[in-house]
């Protein structure tokens, strides 16, 4: 199962999907586009503290984190 993690006021909200399920992948891709369009940064966890910014939906990513747009404090 792959997981999309969206940071929010509850800590985060998680959405799991089966990469082998075409309908679930399509739903996950739609979520990716919706969040990216809203200014969220999508980040793929690579392990050992490393990560990669995703510019487009990656159905092979086991864990994708969505971070709200940054602002100066």
């Amino acid at each position: 199962m792959a997981t999309q993690i969206v940071m929010d006021h509850t800590g985060d909200s998680r959405h799991q999907f089966d990469p082998a399920d075409a309908a679930a992948v399509a739903e996950a891709e739609a979520r990716f586009k919706r969040l990216a369009g809203a200014g969220f940064a999508a980040v793929k966890r690579l392990g050992e503290g490393k990560s990669e910014i995703l510019r487009s939906f990656d159905p092979t990513a086991e864990e994708t984190l969505f971070i709200p747009r940054l602002q100066g404090g």
């Binding site: 940071m7 800590g11 985060d12 050992e48 503290g49 990560s51 971070i67 709200p68």
Partner: protein, 134 residues
Amino acid sequence: MIWAEVGKVAVGAVLMAISAGVTILLVAGMEATSKRVERKAVTLLQLWLSPEQAEQYSSHGHFEVVGSDTGTRYRIRHGRMMNIDQLDSAGNKVCEWCFAPKGNLAAGDCMLAQKIALERFESGALAIANHRPA
């Protein structure tokens, strides 16, 4: 007549006590929720830290990251605001930076976003950040 007045006072006192009780329960509930959210965010942060960063955070309440564009070292302290120290080669604090994700997020989420931003798109993050000298 006097019993009617006593009755009004008694009812008022009971209502005030109920109101105070409800307020206490609401505040306690909010605090419990806040702690639960914070724990959840810190758990997520710890999963995304390197083993070395996790050890630093566990021991000292802060961890270091290296900027993706300049190789500069930063120390991210537990918190949400003004919690990023830029360090010189000797580990001395040069200045503080402040940026965070929009929304009312827990400290753990803010720290994770700051780590990823500095490690993956340092210049872009600092371009929107506020800073002040040490």
